[in-house]
């Protein structure tokens, strides 16, 4: 089964949750690096959503252009 595409809202939710966990110190030190890497990827994903064209949109525009 194809994994459902991550939405901006879902990414934001995950980020909020992780930020809360880190603020509350609910993260095991061993997990910190993994969590941070995950957060970094999510942040980049959200920033890209805001500032870059989606691949499918780009394709559409290319087809039209």
């Amino acid at each position: 089964m194809k994994e459902k595409e991550l939405t901006y809202e879902a990414a934001m939710e995950r980020l909020e949750k992780q930020a809360r966990e880190m603020e509350n110190g609910d993260v095991a030190i061993d997990q910190l690096a993994v969590k941070l890497k995950d957060a970094q990827q999510l942040l980049q994903f959200c920033k890209d959503k805001l500032t870059k064209a989606d691949e499918e949109v780009r394709k559409l525009l290319d087809e039209q252009g």
């Binding site: 992780q18 966990e21 603020e23 989606d54």
Partner: protein
């Protein structure tokens, strides 16, 4: 002759069944009064307004109501009855009451809103959640309008590097076709609603067209029932349309609509920054706490053995003291014993007894004489004194 007989000025209320500006800038129109149901015309009159006066009152009217003197508009006019042999009788417009038209438009809007309320759809669009990400924008506007161009420019040249994908669904934004045209565009968007984050309905900036074209129940109902949030930017500086009441977001101008979208994106960016900062702070806090914990552990770990040593040392000291005391006691005891022995030994020393005057007497065979019983007459005896021996004989 007739003119002189009806010289007075009258206020008349009605609807323009026809209205146009003719050659020379004069205004010509027809005014009608309809029955209670608004279906049948019960009175009709030709109206005119000379260019000079029309320029003054139409400008003022437009400024005050945002409307032009057009067909379909309800107005209250100050008129004077005139008669021309060639054109017949007409009402010459001297003035127009802006507040009457404003009131009429407000009443109409109120009726539409009441109907929307009654149908339970007035808040449908407003209650839709506004997506955090407003990126794919379906625009309803007229392609050539300056306002649409401004909207696109502003979106594309935003200072924050935000990307928007906007697509125009062209519609007539002025005149009697507004309702049908905008509704067609909305229907097309609704068909592919999952491709769009929101709809933006904008009208050319600075257009002074008739706002009341948007005061339509079917149009308002269509906006209210759009499956995605609608942003309207068709309002007027002072005035509003029913769409402003049903749309998710209402703004004044197309640029304001673009500003809203950009602002939303900027808020999202700052939200991301905020999350990032919170995480950094959280991590440093976590590390600090862990560091403190390690320090505490270190202190505990280092202090524990030294405490242990100290106790042990103390224990040793006590033991040492006990040993010392015991030794001292034993020595003293031994010394006393020795002294005792010495005293006893001194008391037993025979040399000492001899010096004191005691003597030891032996028989000739060397036996120590202890009793007189074994002695015989003439038996030689040897007596030992302190400083030598004496030989003697038993004579008695």
């Amino acid at each position: 002759m007739l003119e002189s007989s009806i010289d007075e000025e009258y206020w008349v209320e009605g609807e323009f069944a026809d209205a146009s500006v003719g050659f020379g800038g004069h205004f010509y129109g027809e005014m009608v009064q309809k029955d209670e149901q608004g279906r049948n015309i019960v009175a009709r009159a030709r109206v005119t307004c000379w260019a000079r006066n029309y320029n003054i009152i139409s400008l003022r009217f437009q400024k005050e109501t945002g409307e032009t003197l057009r067909r379909g508009l309800h107005v209250k006019l100050l008129v004077k009855v005139t008669f021309h042999e060639q054109y017949g009788y007409a009402l010459n417009i001297l003035d127009v009451d802006s507040s009457f038209t404003l009131g009429d438009m407000a009443r109409r809007r109120k009726e539409i809103l009441a109907q929307l309320q009654q149908d339970g759809i007035i808040n449908d669009n407003k209650e839709l959640p506004l997506p955090s990400l407003l990126k794919h924008i379906a625009v309803v506007s007229s392609a050539g309008a300056a306002g649409y161009g401004d909207f696109c420019d502003q979106l594309e040249q935003n200072d924050y590097g935000l990307f928007f994908h906007h697509h125009l669904f062209p519609a007539v934004m002025q005149g009697t076709n507004v309702e049908e045209s905008v509704m067609t565009a909305l229907a097309a968007i609704a068909d592919e609603a999952d491709c769009w984050d929101c709809v933006v309905i904008i009208r050319g900036g600075g257009a002074t067209g008739d706002l009341s074209d948007f005061d339509s129940y079917p149009l308002a109902a269509a906006v209210a029932q759009m499956p995605i949030p609608v942003i309207v930017g068709i309002g007027h500086e002072r005035d509003e349309t029913v769409l402003d009441f049903v749309a998710h977001v209402r703004v004044k101008t197309p640029t304001a609509a673009a500003a809203f979208l950009i602002d939303n994106g900027v808020q999202q960016l700052s939200r991301l920054d905020d999350i990032q900062n919170r995480m950094i702070q959280g991590v440093s806090l976590l590390c600090e706490r862990q560091q403190r914990y390690i320090e505490q552990l270190t202190v505990r770990l280092t202090s524990a053995p030294s405490k242990l040593l100290l106790t042990e040392q103390h224990h040793l000291e006590i033991l040492q003291n006990r040993h010392m005391q015991a030794a001292r006691f034993m020595l003293q005891n031994a010394k006393l014993q020795l002294q005792n022995l010495e005293t006893r030994y001194v008391a037993l020393d025979p040399v000492l007894q001899l010096k004191r005057g005691f003597s030891l007497t032996y028989t000739a065979d060397g036996q120590l004489l202890r009793s007189t019983k074994d002695l015989h007459y003439g038996e030689p005896l040897i007596t030992r004194l302190a400083d030598g021996t004496v030989k003697s004989e038993v004579t008695q």
